[in-house]
Symmetry: C2
């Protein structure tokens, strides 16, 4: 995919034939391996400036191995690093420039970068196309200057790159652990919140790109990059507007054939779409059209950061599904009923068991209050060996493709404490190894340190055992539905 | 409302004219004030029996003031209390009997209760209409015997009554603190999980009734009771099936005119409906018909225990809304866009501000990256006094009815730790006192003890200041939508 000239990008000017110059997208690899970084506009007191101040702290916190050049004419040293008055005075050409200076000063900086041979810039600076007509013109000017100078721009109005494997980060709060989730995000706030939420759930990233106004590099470039990136096994995207619709559809279609892709669309509603204009200068487009694009391309849609994290969770831990038939074990009649409703509402099927299977279940599950069909519920499930037998009996029948095991609410006091829960969990984990059906665990819990502490204990064991964990049956059911949909798109 | 004879109840036999005997529903008050309780079938080792064992422990834990009579012929003493071999040998007639003996022994117990003049029984025992034809017949027999003996039955297949103000509880895990939420619940598991989740959120109950198969006292009886109960300010209900449709519609309509009522329906889907049959022997009915009933009666529908707790939260803390126009302040462009989508998806309106209001906002909110219209977003909102000014300016314009303030994700590390959050929160709390618009706070957080600990800190301040708190903007938006709907049904 050749780099388009700025004029071909929607939102900048009318589309023309693409100019066959510039870099192919696999060349974007260089963005994630800079040997030196200049932070132009490093604040004199980074701690007092939560915006631009975090970039330097993030690189130091991540123990970035290359050279860091803080640029600020008012200081000579910061955080033990020598500061430089301007880009031209740096002792070497930085591979990457993070731009935090006011919008009006950016054109000159790009010229300086071009004259020194800088190849990449991440522009934190805001006040461009999202800020009205004047900003839109200034943004066009940047793109023109960068294009002339052979510089690729991320942003403006963005946080840039988080790539833990090369110690790149735009925020010290992010995890240093690298994983296999790729995320492209038109909002810095969403990328930060979503990444931290995922980190808390034990989910880690290969690359996260916060790309803001997408003046030069856009959603299609990053989607294409992540689709071919070997470190990335699945892709999430928060997108407010698309620069080149046709190219995006083609890129998304190719990506969804090789990796699961989930999209969180910002601006689905009328007022939301209006808000995207003042956020990233995006034209959000029509919700129905957008849904059709995702369906056609093979990407699944999620509707919140939480649902995105759930999608990551299930893609990382669940074995491929052969169908959408769910078996439910939920420790309690009402929770079983609600779990069944959640599954069917998510498009899954909760089949009644065959007479033969019911009879087999009844042979060890005969106490009053037992339901031997689907959803399964019985007082005997408090006994781990009978629980194992129930799981194995249901799975071996091949009447379901996936089991949802909904544990009792995490109270963190007997009898609903971690000790009893783990005994149950170990039976689930051990049995899951010898069955074909996939297994999802649900551990409902409260917003208290004790209850969520218990959840964390369950989370750790589930992660070690490679079982997906969710906090409600609805979230589990929705994730399973999306996972089934997503793997049906993959080329095998 | 006279007590119907058993034959008038659907699911037992064809409806006949009601017999004008028995107690009016306000008479159900006696259920919540027993001076003595017999637990028939107290296990010899309560700790080993998580089912029937909890009743005795719950009453002891709650420091129940009346007499407790454990009944079990195999023991003479338990937990320091004298145990009795059977009901007939008790030194006095208990006001309330909790029945935990096997189903086949229950008819004789009811006869004994009748001969001793017992007025109320809560039947934990399962194995009745939910267990097939034989159980259905046995359940009919119980109802007939109880009716003849002048005994009101709760259940069977239920947990009975939790009423903290009179130290009644069916589980020691529930809070001893009394509140103003009434809950009727066809599932013991849902009632326990939902109540504990609410307790964790600082929400407490007047009365919770787990009523299982509803063989005698049913959803209409308890709805009617809670509607007239002075200790109950709002009502939640988990219902799988309705015994007498016409009476329920009338009761629900009357209740929703005097208090907010939310209903969580179990068995909304085909497979879910099938599951209710084996859980409480209920005929779940058709989802569309059910939604029409709720709409017509003025009850709002929720679709999970979490949404029920959110409804309680907003009814308890939010001032009455004059309309559904929402102003959003969300600290970040992407989160603002998503919050806007959440609001509009929940049926709320996020209006663009008038030119005059935008101009006023711009006078102190001019940094690049600021959005002075709705949703409001600006770096200056990090300054508490400018935040206050923004809130007051928006509220005083009367262009919105409610403000959603979405705080940054709770990381529990600087700059997103409790200290900074509380400074922001105090500005919100202080300003909210001098404005007409209602305010909801959103504090997104992770499932870690640190992050949820920070959430708890925010929760405590919000509760003290009487502000509603939610963990996602979607949950806030849905709760606001339901609250607006609910108060529109109330008779003023």
């Amino acid at each position: 995919m050749p780099r388009p000239s700025p004029e071909t990008q929607q939102g900048i000017g009318p589309a023309k034939n693409q100019v066959e110059v510039g870099m192919a997208n696999s060349d974007l690899e260089f963005l994630f391996h800079p040997k030196s970084i200049a932070i132009v506009g490093t604040p004199s007191d980074p701690s007092a400036n939560q915006g631009a101040g975090v970039f330097l702290d993030a690189l130091l916190e991540f123990d970035y191995k290359g050279h860091i050049y803080p640029v600020n004419p008012k200081i000579s040293e910061i955080r033990g690093l020598r500061a430089y008055p301007d880009l031209m005075s740096l002792p070497q050409t930085p591979d990457h420039v993070i731009c935090c200076i006011p919008a009006s000063l950016v054109p000159q900086l790009i010229k300086d970068c071009a004259s020194r041979g800088v190849k990449a810039m991440a522009m934190y600076t805001a006040g461009f196309s999202e800020a009205g007509e004047e900003g839109r013109k200034l943004e066009q000017e940047l793109v023109r200057l960068a294009y002339q100078g052979g510089i690729r721009l991320i942003g403006p109005n963005c946080m840039g790159i988080y790539c833990p494997s090369t110690c790149l980060s735009y925020n010290p709060l992010l995890s240093r652990e690298a994983g296999s989730v790729g995320l492209l995000c038109q909002s810095g706030g969403v990328s930060l919140g979503l990444s931290i939420m995922a980190n808390f759930a034990g989910i880690y990233f290969s690359k996260v790109i916060s790309y803001g106004n997408a003046a030069d590099l856009n959603e299609s470039d990053f989607m294409e990059y992540l689709a071919q990136d070997n470190e990335t096994k699945l892709i999430g995207a928060y997108i407010e507007g698309v620069r080149d619709g046709q190219r995006f559809i083609e890129t998304l279609t190719r990506a969804a054939k090789v990796k699961p892709v989930a999209i969180l669309k910002g601006g689905r509603t009328k007022a939301g779409a209006k808000a995207t204009a003042s956020h990233t200068g995006s034209l959000a487009g029509d919700e129905e059209k957008w849904s059709a694009v995702c369906r056609q391309a093979g990407a699944v849609q999620v509707y919140s950061s939480e649902e995105m994290v759930d999608f990551f969770e299930i893609c990382l831990h669940m074995k491929p599904l052969k169908g959408q038939r769910v078996g439910i074990i939920a420790w309690g009649g009402g929770p079983s009923v609600l779990a069944t409703d959640d599954c069917e509402s998510a498009g899954l099927v909760v089949p009644a068991f065959s007479a033969a299977l019911c009879q087999e279940m009844r042979s060890f599950m005969f106490e009053p209050g037992s339901s031997v069909s689907n959803p399964v519920d019985s007082p005997v499930l408090a006994n781990p060996s009978l629980l194992s037998r129930a799981i194995k009996t249901v799975a071996d029948s091949r009447e379901v493709d996936v089991l949802i095991m909904r544990l009792p609410f995490a109270v963190a006091r007997p009898p609903f404490d971690l000790e009893v829960t783990v005994a149950t969990l170990e039976a689930i984990i051990e049995t899951s190894k010898s069955i074909d059906a996939a297994v999802a665990v649900v551990q409902p819990h409260g917003d208290t340190p004790e209850s969520s502490g218990q959840f964390l204990g369950v989370q750790q064991r589930c992660a070690e055992a490679n079982l997906s964990l969710f906090s409600t049956t609805r979230r589990a059911a929705q994730a399973i539905g999306r996972f089934a949909q997503s793997i049906s798109y993959l080329e095998h």
